[in-house]
Amino acid sequence: MSKALSKVKLPYLLLLPGFLFLFTFFILPILNLAQTSTQTPTAGGDTGEYEQTFRFANYIDAFIENREQFARSFIFAICATLLALAIAYPLAYAIAFKAGRFKNILLVLIIAPFFTSFLLRTVAWKQILGEEGFVVPPLRTFGIIGESTTLTSTSFAVVIGMTYNFLPFMTLPLYASLERIDPRTMEASGDLYANGITTFRRVTLPLSMPGVVAGTLLTFIPAAGDYVNAAILGNPNSKMLGNVIESRYFRIVDYPTAAALSFTLMAAILILVTLYIRKAGTEELV
């Protein structure tokens, strides 16, 4: 091989493993899923036997049948995202600007939960919010919740669980963008007659928008498709779309409906995210 030729080919050779991986484990499964989503049961076949009939009405049937879970997925995901943002922003702000020499320790503490299994941490919330936990008894004592009210197996618990599980994904991008802000721009704002609140509104918040956008996306997207939190912390009336897809696949063995729901969810998330990024105008930010 001549030297010039190898120089042209080299980048493609280097890209090859990545392409192969994506093709095998992303493109093929997606195509397979698309194929499955328009199948119908084979006449007279066993449970789980389907044939390709290009029945696009599968999508409409699946959506109408599960529109409640659909809406719930997005409402829960939005609630969890907003809650996570409300908790993570002050946290990231404090780490970026006020933590001093404790900065690195605090960052490690944010990542530390990842050393334990996601499932285990979610189950732990069952204990925390349970009858014997340290949340319910004090709330009962002060009359904030009634004697018969429980926190486990509620929509509230699902949202709290998701907020907790996705908090690091919100905090880290927020921290990264806050940390990049030159504190002197905030001083300059104060110098130019802006008080603390105005400085936050006019300088700090706009400059941290890339982090807000990244953090909310990293939280919202997995939260909308989540089923673990609803399965462990929820009840039959707080099921999300993820739970439906899970049971269609593994319990009812209704592959076409599960595949159609998966695609609908992906499309809905994609549309929402596109609208959101347009609105947030990240490309305007430095």
Partner: protein, 383 residues
């Protein structure tokens, strides 16, 4: 919110200011009055407390002890946004998410001024960058950003404009140009400028009055010419330009002059230029005030004999000589190259002479090396 137009104006007075951080004293019992309308420079090496002083004036730090008055108003504990004072920050600190126009309008808008166009356009004209109004700061060169930072501050017509090493990030040529422009703008707008710098040349070019700071206090304050011609301490003598400091004794007086003994040689100098407290002194002479002549040629004024040329460096406009004296000291002499060729060679036996009036005298117990170890341009940007 501050209504700057009716806000207090007048001299800025710092009264017995001390600022400590734990065990470290950044500013030590400093008192200072900056007259309204002046171009005032705080000059000193890294860590001398000049930036801390500036930040206390801006309200970004609070003094541990002492008070700050603007005119008759005590502003010691006022928040930055409550002071009619604006700052040009060292790295400009422009708002990267706003256009140049909005950067400049920021202060006006915060004060609730509705129609900002005329004011903003006026300062954009003043800094000669009206065509950049709709750009973002990152699209500007360093020099342009510097001017916008200045425009953003002066558009508010503050009682006091603080400049924190404003030219530190610019290259030498641009810095020279901006020095002249800043001075011009100060005259044009008639505001009080307080300029913090470690660059003695910059301070001397621009300021009416310079306060030389060292170790949290003011060493000496005066006009650039005063400080240069008649420094009171070895630190000032060495930090502003170069000085030859020769150890000696006061032998007696002769009318308005003092007679000094420098290693057995007698010279004279005006009494008024001595800052000595007893007979022990350092006689100071700036290198360019010395004249060299070959042994045997007629001389005038003060003369030191017994030297020979140790080193010659030709630097175009002048030639620098190091003259080794019999007592082991090497004196620095700058000779203007009026006549072309360097007239002295290494090893020539020479006399050094100078006008007695150019001599200054410092206390004999001073550290003759104070202020020399660090070349002003080598400092860190931050304190």
């Amino acid at each position: 919110m501050v209504d700057v137009s009716s806000a207090t104006r007048g001299d800025l007075r710092l009264t017995r200011i001390t600022k400590t951080y734990g065990d470290f004293t950044a500013v030590d019992d400093l008192s200072l009055t900056i007259p309204e309308g002046s171009f005032f420079a705080l000059l000193g090496p890294s860590g001398c407390g000049k930036t801390t002083t500036l930040r206390m004036i801006a309200g970004l730090e609070e003094p541990t002890v002492g008070s700050i008055h603007l005119g008759t108003t005590d502003i010691t504990t006022k928040r930055p946004y409550q002071r009619p004072i604006n700052t040009v920050f060292q790295n400009y600190a422009l708002f990267p998410h706003l256009t140049i126009f909005e950067n400049i309008a920021f202060g006006l808008r915060r004060r609730g001024i509705k129609n900002v166009d005329a004011d903003v356009n006026k300062v954009l004209d003043l800094v000669e960058l009206p065509h950049l109004a709709q750009r973002k700061p990152t699209q500007l060169s360093g020099g342009q950003q510097q001017r916008i930072a200045l425009a953003r501050a002066i558009v508010n017509r503050p009682a006091l404009l603080l400049l924190d090493e404003p030219l530190g990030a610019l290259d030498l040529k641009l810095r020279r140009q901006m020095q002249i422009e800043l001075k011009w703008i100060q005259r044009e707008v008639g505001l009080t400028f307080v300029h913090v710098t470690h660059d003695q040349e910059e301070a001397m070019t621009m300021a009416d009055t310079i306060a030389v700071m060292n170790e949290g206090g003011i060493e000496q304050m005066g006009s650039p010419a005063d400080l240069y011609d008649n420094p009171k301490t070895a630190f000032v003598a060495n930090f502003l330009g170069q000085s030859n400091l020769i150890k000696g004794r006061i032998e007696g007086t002769d009318g308005d002059n003092l007679v000094l003994d420098l290693y057995g040689q007698k010279i004279s100098m005006p009494k008024s230029r001595s800052h000595a407290v007893d007979n022990s002194i350092f006689a100071g002479i700036r290198p360019e005030k010395f004249r060299i002549s070959l042994v045997g040629t007629p001389t005038r004024g003060n003369v030191l004999t017994g030297g020979h040329i140790e080193e010659v460096s030709y630097i175009g406009v002048s030639t620098q000589y190091q003259v080794a004296m019999p007592w082991g000291q090497e004196l620095m002499v700058f000779e203007q190259n009026d006549d072309g060729v360097p007239p002295f060679d290494k090893g020539d036996q020479v006399l050094i002479c100078w006008e007695p009036n150019f001599t200054f005298a410092l206390r004999g117990d001073e550290d003759a090396e104070a202020g020399t170890e660090v070349a002003p341009d080598d400092f860190d940007e931050d304190e």
